[in-house]
């Protein structure tokens, strides 16, 4: 034995003794080897106490060797990289690993809340439902906090995760989950048939249970066969091998989610490396070779550190060369437990006794006992030891199954439990398949499949090695028979078949007279056999209710070691057979998956796609603060030196009214509409008439939804005999295109109309202000005087040689042109306009100034087009034609939408002329009136108008226009603000529209 790893065996195992890895557990320096897990390294260092239990804070040790581990949950790493609730059995050791135990204070060995064990009779399952009933306010302020402090797991970091994650889509003929003997045989069959195969296994290497046992195939160690098959699979071009990869969910259409731990086994990922990767696999057929988990036995004191699954003990000896104890007892109900005896002896561990609940064992099993005393028809009835197992009490089982006779005490620090096997059917169940209970095997097995999947090997209750291999290869051959042409059955190695005696069904050891300890069923959630009987007494007899009442099977181990025992105890309480009680529903994920893996690279600025206009870089280079507007990035304002952001947008707003400004409107939706029936089509989608629009003219249009409410607005220009260019709001560009396309394909397929998005084809810019014409004249190659280019005129021309479409339309209410240039001429045209306007200090203006301008003008936008308003509500009733049909016309005539007291658009100004108004504020008649107060409306948009020098707002007010001149109150409870306001026209500036016709 090595002095620094006192329980490490001198030879054997898969570990690399040539290298030593340093790590810390609760601050203590320890050492291990490459190939170790944290659990095996802790055991090699003689550490048995690994954690405290969830509720009672009982000392707990390492019980399993894989994903089934219920006890040894630890926190890994630190700071932003800290990872709580990691199963020590699944964490590969690396140099510098820092691990801490959880749910204890101040130390693992001396945990103050261990006192919970003394008051355990008062805190059984569901005690908090009954205890913390009143007073009501104590629940959130006192009880919840106390419970959360007393119980629970690790603590997640609040810092952003610095690691990168990734996603991968994959398609295959055969997905094999689990690289044990059955899975390897299936993958081999697939590879040799030339199929596209993905083979995944959640551990770091292939072999499955063969890594833990000393099986032979064709007379040679089975792991030699594993290595040969792995080499062959790796050399097959269409085979993907994924180790450290957990299949966590089985979804419809044979889609399976895999979580690959790409660099969790490294101290830190390289710069280019992701930490974990989510695979979304679409498989023609899935073979589930997920193996089986050994069940522990339920008896008093079955949770002390040193009580382990027998299969795990064999694994620690054979795979990790670790001696889990010095003197062992084996408690079994079947022949597989006997194999542990020879492994223990080989590892130098004295075997004190084999305790078998049956009358006898199989010959092969007995052959492995050597001189070890076997106690048939007996059971462990109690254990002892504070922070670790020190002794067990053995008693005979009488004819009635109860302990009888005198208990015998045996000193030992290791108790190996072999309570039978539970096939891992989680994924088979998630696929929609049904389970059946096999009384002979005492297990639920997959019965039928809803999707293209087959369970093989131990996952299907097949435990003989040769049968496992055959089941994998046969399933693959059947699955591929209709897919590949070159299917030749593989020749499989042979293994020695051993006859076994039938296992005993011992779901719980009846309590002996002297036994005082609890019998734990779910070690992770501290659920005891008595808790299950309590649930039964209180009426929670359905397995789903049992699960929720007691938390049975709800931990990170998803009940791998506890579910069947728990169901059997409930069945006994109800006097039913196990299949009549049934199982709970298996849901993804089978094993914990980091949130980062689900999110992938879609974080931060890449959470959603970002759209940039052709002038994006110019804006950034010229001081614009960019802001997200839907998916687009738009300039919010351009702050000049010494300016605040408020001053910037006020200046920009004022400058457009007084001189000239330039705004990037590339984000507006643009739709090319062509066809012989284009005018008729527009007539049907807009509320107003379009058949008389001449070529070279634009018109403002309003669209309704089918329900008669306003959908979108914008201008559409007629560019040719059968060609139009529609603009939409930025937010609704895609929705409007979809709306148009739907009606063309599904409602009016007779119309000869074709629509295409050209939003990205053009850079758009709005040149606005009294000096707009002066600037445009300097760069455009066509006349822009009022006679040649009147309001709502549309002409093609050139600016700086680039082809442009010029439209005399205005969102600001000023003299303005909207200029569309092909995108890659956009920056050229923009810069020419800026240079031409330099003499007038032309102001690029952002969306804040744009909003100020449109509020001053009373133009509606997002706040008013909220999906609840009609044209009449917005003061646009005159745009609704009575001479034609259009989308939404009939529903618009519903009485409710024609009520005269509907909320309608008005303007508001503060009575004191200075109190700022806030969007979302309620409008009420009397702010001093007792509640409830009638809500008369709300503010939809508000700003400080630099041109009027006082705050203004647009609002939707009941009976709006008729209330002009009334005094109301704008109430903003969030800001605790009340402002007295006067109702006005929504058109604050130039209500006659003189300026835009200038």
């Amino acid at each position: 034995m090595s002095s620094d790893q006192p329980r490490r065996l001198p030879a054997g195992g898969e570990i690399d003794r040539s290298a030593t890895l340093g790590f810390r557990f609760d601050g203590k320096r320890l050492a291990g080897h490459p190939g170790d897990t944290l659990a095996s390294a802790l055991l090699a260092n003689g550490i048995r106490l690994a954690g405290r239990s969830f509720k009672y804070h009982r000392p707990r040790g390492i019980m399993g060797i894989g994903p089934e581990e219920p006890n040894a949950l630890v926190g890994l790493r630190s700071g932003a990289c800290s990872e709580p609730n990691t199963r020590a059995t699944m964490a590969e050791l690396f140099d510098g690993l820092e691990a801490v135990s959880q749910n204890r204070w101040p130390t693992l060995a001396l945990d103050v809340q261990g006192v919970n064990g003394l008051i355990a009779p008062f805190i059984p399952a569901g005690f908090y439902y009954k205890t913390f009933m009143s007073p009501d306010r104590w629940w959130t302020n006192v009880y919840e906090k106390l419970i959360r402090r007393a119980a629970g797991m690790g603590i997640a970091s609040h810092e952003p995760d610095p690691d990168r994650y990734d996603k991968m889509n994959a398609h295959c003929d055969l997905l094999v989950v689990g690289a044990g003997p059955a899975g390897l045989a299936a993958a081999l069959q697939g590879a040799r048939a030339g199929a596209r195969v993905i083979l995944c296994d959640e551990t770091n290497a292939f072999g499955g249970s063969l890594r833990h046992e000393r099986e032979t195939l064709d007379g040679a160690p089975a792991m030699e066969w594993v290595r040969n098959i792995r080499r062959e699979l790796a050399a097959s071009p269409d085979v993907t091998l994924l180790s450290r990869t957990t299949a966590f969910g089985y979804y419809d259409h044979n889609i399976i989610g895999l979580a690959e731990r790409v660099s969790d086994h490294l101290p830190a990922p390289a710069d280019w490396q992701v930490r974990q990767r989510m695979w979304v696999v679409r498989a023609r057929h899935v073979i589930l070779a997920t193996g089986a988990i050994e069940r522990p036995l339920v008896f008093p004191g079955n949770d002390r550190p040193g009580v382990m699954l027998a299969s795990a003990v064999r694994g620690y000896i054979n795979r990790f060369a670790v001696q889990p104890g010095r003197r062992a007892t084996i408690f079994t109900t079947n022949d597989s437990g006997y194999a542990t005896a020879s492994d223990l002896a080989r590892a130098g561990i004295e075997v004190a006794a084999i305790v078998d609940a049956r009358e006898n064992a199989g010959e092969a099993a007995l052959a492995q006992t050597a001189s070890v005393p076997v106690r048939f028809r007996s059971a462990i009835v109690e254990t002892g030891g504070h922070l670790g197992l020190r002794q067990v009490d053995i008693q005979n089982l009488g004819a009635d199954g109860n302990p009888s006779g005198k208990a015998e005490r045996i000193d030992c620090d290791l108790l190996c439990l072999a309570g039978g096997w539970t096939p891992s059917v989680h994924l088979a169940s998630q696929s929609g398949g049904r389970m059946r209970y096999d009384a002979g095997l005492q297990a639920f097995l997959p019965e039928s499949s809803k999707q293209n999947e087959t369970s093989v090997g131990a996952a299907n209750g097949i435990y003989d090695l040769g049968d496992c291999l055959a089941s994998g290869a046969d399933a693959a051959a059947r699955a591929l028979s209709g897919i590949t042409q070159s299917l030749v059955p593989v020749t499989l190695p042979t293994s020695m078949r051993e006859s076994e005696a039938a296992p005993a069904a011992l779901w719980e050891v009846p309590k002996a007279a002297h036994a005082r300890s609890k019998s734990f069923v779910d070690h992770q959630d501290d659920v005891t056999a008595d808790d299950i009987r309590l649930a039964h007494r209180e009426g929670y007899i359905s397995v789903e209710h049992l699960k929720r009442y007691t938390t049975l099977g709800m931990g990170t181990d998803q009940g791998r070691t506890s579910n069947v025992n728990g169901l059997a105890i409930m069945a006994a309480a109800r006097g039913l057979d196990i299949p009549e009680v049934g199982t709970t529903t298996f849901r993804p994920p089978v094993s914990p998956v980091a949130f980062g893996a689900f999110v992938g690279a879609e974080t931060g600025l890449h959470f959603a796609p970002i759209r940039r206009t052709p002038m994006h870089d110019w804006h950034v280079a010229n001081g614009a603060e960019m802001v997200e507007a839907g998916l687009w990035m738009r300039p919010k304002w351009y702050v000049r030196p010494g300016e605040s952001t408020y001053q910037a947008h006020q200046r920009e707003t004022r400058h457009v009214r007084e001189a000239v400004g330039l705004n990037d409107v590339s984000t507006l939706g643009k739709i090319d509409i062509q066809g012989a029936d284009a005018a008729e089509f527009l007539n049907r989608v807009y509320t107003n008439g379009w058949k008389t629009l001449p070529i070279g003219k634009a018109r403002y249009g309003l669209m309704l939804r089918e329900d008669g409410l306003v959908f979108d607005d914008g201008t559409t220009s007629r560019l040719g005999e059968t060609r139009y260019l529609m603009t939409t709001t930025t937010a609704n560009a895609a929705t409007v295109l979809r709306h148009l396309d739907f009606h063309l394909q599904a409602v009016w397929p007779d119309l000869d109309v074709h629509v295409a998005s050209v939003t990205d084809q053009y850079a758009g810019m709005a040149l606005a202000g009294p000096l707009a014409r002066t600037v445009l004249e300097r760069v455009a190659d066509i006349p822009v005087d009022n006679g040649s280019f009147p309001y709502l005129g549309v002409h093609e021309g050139r600016i700086a040689g680039a082809p442009v479409i010029l439209s005399r339309i205005s969102f600001s209410g000023e003299l303005a042109w909207e200029i569309l240039a092909p995108a890659e001429y956009g920056i050229t045209v923009w810069q020419h306009l800026m240079e031409a306007g330099a003499e007038f200090d032309i102001a690029p203006y952002g969306i804040e100034a744009l909003a100020n301008l449109r509020i001053e003008k009373g133009h509606v936008a997002g706040g008013e087009l909220d999906g609840r308003t009609t044209p009449g509500d917005l003061g646009l009733g005159r745009m609704v034609s009575t001479k034609k049909d259009f989308i939404g016309r009939h529903m618009l005539n519903r009485p409710e939408l024609q009520r005269p007291d509907r909320e309608q658009l008005v303007g508001l100004v503060p009575v004191d002329g200075r109190t700022g108004l806030r969007g979302g504020s309620y409008l009420i008649a009397d702010h001093a009136a007792p509640a409830p107060v009638e809500k008369l409306g709300w503010i939809t948009s508000a700003c400080m108008s630099p041109n009027l020098d006082h705050p203004i707002a647009l609002a939707l007010l009941k009976g709006g226009p008729a209330r002009r001149g009334e005094l109301l109150f704008a109430l903003n409870p969030l800001e605790n603000q009340v402002a007295e306001v006067r109702v006005t026209s929504p058109h604050f500036i130039d209500p006659e529209g003189v300026r835009l016709e200038a």
């Binding site: 390289a270 940039r612 994006h616 059968t722």
Partner: protein
Amino acid sequence: MKPDQFPPRIPSVQIPVDRTGVALGNTDRGTTGVTIALRCDREAVQVSTRPENELGVAKRLAVHIGIALPTEPGGVAREGGLSGYRLAPGKWLIVGKPETPGSLASAVTAALDGPPAYAVDIGHQLVICILSGSDVRRILAKGSAVDFHPSHFPVDCSAQTAWAGCHVLIDCLAEDCFEIQVSRSLAVHLLEALSEAALEYRLMHDDG
């Protein structure tokens, strides 16, 4: 308007100069990894007609433009520097690098000669990314659920799909070389996402 008098196009999407020609990511990887290049000089025209006119319009364009547009989904036609894709029944995209700017849209419009088919110039709407290298299919699989295995996505196969949330058209130019067409406004986002996905391989950016 004479297209040959237009000023030069100024690409609004470019690979940063300091990244071109520099090996990034997993530079120790013993494969060619992936190279990402941009093409901003392509013309593009979308052609639409009613589905029942599809064959007639395809024949007309074959005669006048010289490209036999595909009439099956996922097909690609290539002729004279042009590539043609079927976007939907009665809807094609023709992309290429003509000798004079604007000539493709003009030529297609002239060839169609009005109803029942219509052309829309979207040459400034698309940005084209060229991805090449031994790991290119793996990178594509990171962002799209399309099956990119050579048996399912051979040379001259195309698909419209989403990649990093962006609508794209992916065209297999060669066994290890793909073209991705994306709307201009999304091109920078897509380029960043592709580069991020390629980091674990050997990544090069090419200024084209």
